[in-house]
Symmetry: C2
Subunit: 243 residues, 2 copies
């Protein structure tokens, strides 16, 4: 793990790093030392580790929750090299949606192509970050919606270090089957008028989650309209389960 | 408005009162003076103004939120005289549910019988309580689920002083039409495995709400299994909209 830059703003330190070719960013409370909860954050499709929503959420989790937060570019995103096949699939989605088609199959194909690789990368990042003196091997949470939800469901299902997760905006065919293997507490976010994910598929993923504690938070609006107050709700959910 | 008793415990003062034959209870932070947000709280069917869940929630709203909270016995509940017709309808519900029937029509009939009367009573209580020196005419919220949701939907729809509401566990036929007239922010609670209210009817009431801001909170479990962490969520929702 190689750190390449460090900057502190408003009480939160942001460090860029690379781990075996995967570029990432770590946020910690300024001057933090010792073990603390760590949130792994997955970004959305077409976004990257420092997309504005990711940064705003991560900084708030660090400043208000005292958490460490880590995000990494998934393949074909951010600073990573372009993959022609992934590009082709991603570029088809808007036009298929505009034509009135259900884009779920395309999204599922996209997620399946990257999921296996991403999960191994996130596990390696998690292991490396937990060896740092200002993070340590404390409780781990996961936050991710849309692409970060589609990848997050298999990540949380297969990673026993994750103890609580905020997931959502994901309803690809087959995802419910994977969701059934999740047993940790989940807050599951749904946009009621999501133009990309049929509502019944979203509700099916929530219903399938194997967790004894799971809460569906559904808000009006389209795929990109997640209200900002859900960040506060996620923060309190993680505080309740990881502190 | 006639106060009949007063007691203070853990920083919250509880005052019993009667207003035109309606018995009620008011909780305020101990020593409070001046205008503060007021939450009108509706109790569940078969419960009353001092049911354990009502008291615990009201005390937390007063202690942690600094709110005033008022609850009153609805007809045929608590200290109010028995009504034979209401009793007969209420007593039929468990056996009809046990026989595998959808109890929604029975619940709807019960709610319709009491709704008109209760709304006028709550409006009178609201007016009287807001004239007290330690409450005043500040912002008003409403909290009620089950019977308190079935009555709360028409109350919130028709009472312009209410600026935010937590409603739920209600899906009687016809309720969606009334919900469409609500325009204030709503947090709507659904139990995913509610044995009394078909899930699609609950979701239809949420979908029908005319509010620009509305959030569905759905949790696993039956009608009576609402998780306690939803009290904290309601408190923060009211703090966001009434402070």
């Amino acid at each position: 793990m190689r750190f390449t830059s460090q900057a502190t703003l408003d009480g939160v330190t942001e460090q860029l790093f690379a781990l075996d070719g995967v570029p990432g960013v770590l946020w910690t409370p300024d001057g933090a030392s010792g073990i603390r909860p760590l949130i792994v954050m997955g970004h959305g499709g077409g976004q990257h580790k420092k997309a504005p929503g990711v940064v705003a959420r991560a900084r708030r989790f660090a400043a208000e929750g005292g958490f460490a937060v880590v995000a990494a570019d998934v393949p074909n995103h951010g600073e990573r090299p372009k993959d022609a096949e992934l590009d082709r699939i991603a570029s088809e989605i808007p036009s298929r949606v505009a034509a009135g088609e259900d884009a779920a199959a395309l999204v599922a194909a996209l997620h399946a192509l990257v999921a296996g690789q991403v999960i191994a990368e996130w596990q390696a990042v998690l292991t490396a970050v937990q060896q740092l003196g200002n993070v340590g091997a404390g409780p781990v949470g996961y936050w991710g919606v849309s692409l970060g939800g589609g990848l997050g469901v298999p990540f949380v299902a297969g990673e026993p270090r994750v103890r609580a997760a905020v997931l959502g905006l994901a309803g690809s065919p087959g995802l419910a089957g994977t969701a059934a293997r999740i047993t940790v507490p989940v807050q599951f976010l749904v946009q009621w008028d999501d133009e990309r994910i049929p509502r019944d598929r979203s509700l099916a993923v929530f219903g399938a989650l194997g967790s004894a504690e799971k809460t569906l938070h559904a808000n009006p609006g389209k795929h990109g309209d997640l209200p900002s107050f859900e960040t506060g709700s996620a923060l309190r959910f993680f505080a309740r389960h990881l502190n």
